[in-house]
């Protein structure tokens, strides 16, 4: 989680009230409604930032085979599995449900990709975590509960309660304006309807497209800078024929 933004729940509410001041009226601008609006805006901002700033929303927790991961779970990042509490942890690879069942079955797994203690596999089906370190022999793998491990996953933070006004919002400082725009939009949507709304929507769209544009540019820059490390690719257009040589024929 990011703390450098330093915007606490109470700061956010102050700022929202300042910004909304000219539109303020008697509809629901009370503290509890504002906390709900902050929570909703927080989740929206995180969904927008997730593809680019995903590393800020990772949590680490212990898992066992058959564990329900909860609605805040987004997707797995890294999973370490051990056969039992005394065995070493190994990084597991993700497979989908059908492949999982094939890999852990002693009759259908191939010797080159079978689930073993050094190379365990896991899957997530219906937000339930299934993992194994060996092909099943005489017990169905999904009812084997000795397998345990550590999961690092992308997770939505918990909803902020009214009393948690000193908690720092998990939003990078660069995108705090996006958060305020979304919060204001939600507030004005149910408090008042002015020309401001379309401006806010446009602003959010603009920040979103800038964010994704920035991601693309970053990738391009990395590709340019690391060109020598990237394996050569076949050009799409044949190079010009040099006089006196045979024309290249791709």
């Amino acid at each position: 989680m990011i703390n450098y933004g330093g915007v606490r729940l109470r700061d956010a509410i102050d700022e929202i009230l300042n910004r909304v001041n000219s539109y303020r009226n008697g509809f629901n601008i009370d503290y509890f409604s504002l906390v709900q609006i902050v929570n909703t805006a927080l989740m929206d901002t995180i969904s927008i930032l997730l593809p680019v700033y995903g590393h800020n929303y990772i949590a680490r927790f212990n898992v066992v085979n058959g564990q329900f991961l909860g609605p805040n779970f987004i997707k797995p990042h890294r999973v370490l599995i051990q056969k039992s509490a005394v065995d070493p942890l190994r990084e597991a690879r993700y497979v989908n449900s059908r492949e999982y069942n094939a890999l852990v079955n002693w009759e259908t797994a191939h010797s080159w990709n079978v689930a073993i203690e050094d190379n365990p596999v896991y899957t997530i089906y219906g937000l339930v975590f299934y993992a194994t370190t060996q092909p099943m022999s005489n017990i169905d793998i999904i009812s084997n509960t000795t397998i345990q491990g550590i999961m690092e996953a992308y997770i939505y933070p918990n909803v902020l309660q009214e009393t948690q006004n000193n908690v720092i919002l998990p939003i990078p400082y660069e995108y705090i304006d996006l958060f305020y725009s979304i919060a204001l939009l939600k507030l004005l949507m149910h408090a008042d309807e002015r020309g401001e709304l379309s401006y806010l929507l446009q602003n959010i769209q603009k920040i979103k497209s800038e964010l994704y544009q920035r991601k693309k540019e970053k990738e391009l820059t990395e590709a340019r800078q690391l060109e020598s490390f990237v394996e050569p690719r076949i050009p799409f257009v044949p190079s010009q024929a040099t006089p006196g040589e045979v024309a290249p024929n791709l």
């Binding site: 509809f27 629901n28 909703t40 219906g126 909803v159 939009l185 149910h190 394996e231 076949i234 799409f236």
Partner: protein, 255 residues
């Protein structure tokens, strides 16, 4: 989020429109449940794993399908067993037939066929389903008002008896419909916070259409579109990033 919170969120958003009208919590929860299913429908094409469920059914729970008992392969008969499925079944991902051997567990994956194919498969001996490679089909029976799963294989009576003795079970991995939230404390278990936001917007839109047809819905529609777009963009970027990060694994032949 629990149902009571859903209702609170919706009421707060709607307060401006509801200066004079009273909509009961029960009515609001109906709108919320409808919206939840609609949102599930939106995201099923790319998030079906999120709504998965696994059930085990004893093999001897099935009834023999009487229409297909007489096809013989030597001493064995091709037979189909029929099982009732849970009412919340949307689609089936995988079906396995399991039984306990002397020292090992056998878990055979069933291949999917359509109901019509079940009959044609049964008359070709080159792809006839065996106990090692059974088939399954499923459909909604209008008269029985239930979803039926058909499992077909060449069984003889001895095999069927021994499968029953060996506590054979069917394991079904299926995509489950969301159950309704009825009590105020009922917890939302499968929809993530971003999807919950979609639910609130969708419920708000439908409620306004019914109670306040004169309200300008453009803004809500715009917000709904924007929220869904964000979800889709995030998903596409995610897939793209995975492909880029694993570019060394990508095959480039045939350029």
């Amino acid at each position: 989020m629990i149902l009571a919170e859903y209702i609170d969120f919706l009421k707060i958003r709607l307060k401006r429109y509801f200066a004079g009208a009273v909509v009961s919590d029960v009515s609001i929860s109906n709108y919320i449940n409808t919206a939840r299913r609609k949102v599930q429908n939106y995201v099923l094409p790319f998030m079906s794993d999120r709504f998965g469920n696994v059930i085990n059914i004893p093999f001897n729970n099935g009834t023999q399908d009487p229409t297909i008992q007489n096809i013989q392969y030597g001493t064995r008969a091709y037979q189909v067993f029929v099982y009732g499925m849970p009412a919340d079944l949307i689609s089936i991902d995988n079906v396995y037939m399991m039984w306990q051997g002397t020292s090992v567990l056998y878990k055979k994956q069933c291949r999917q066929s359509s109901k019509r194919e079940v009959y044609t498969i049964s008359i070709h001996d080159w792809n006839v389903p065996t106990i090692d490679s059974p088939i399954f089909a499923y459909e909604y029976d209008v008269f029985a008002r239930t979803i039926l799963l058909y499992i077909g294989a060449t069984f003889d009576q001895a095999t069927i008896a021994s499968l029953t003795n060996l506590n054979a079970t069917l394991q079904v991995w299926y995509v489950q419909a969301l159950l309704e939230l009825t009590e105020p404390t009922d917890m939302e278990l499968y929809l993530s916070p971003e999807l919950q936001e979609l639910v609130i917007l969708e419920a708000m839109k439908n409620l306004l259409i019914d109670y306040y047809p004169s309200v300008n819905l453009n803004l809500i529609n715009q917000e709904l579109m924007s929220a869904f777009e964000t979800l889709m963009t995030a998903y596409q970027l995610d897939v793209q990033t995975q492909v880029e990060e694993l570019s060394t694994m990508k095959k480039e032949e045939g350029l």
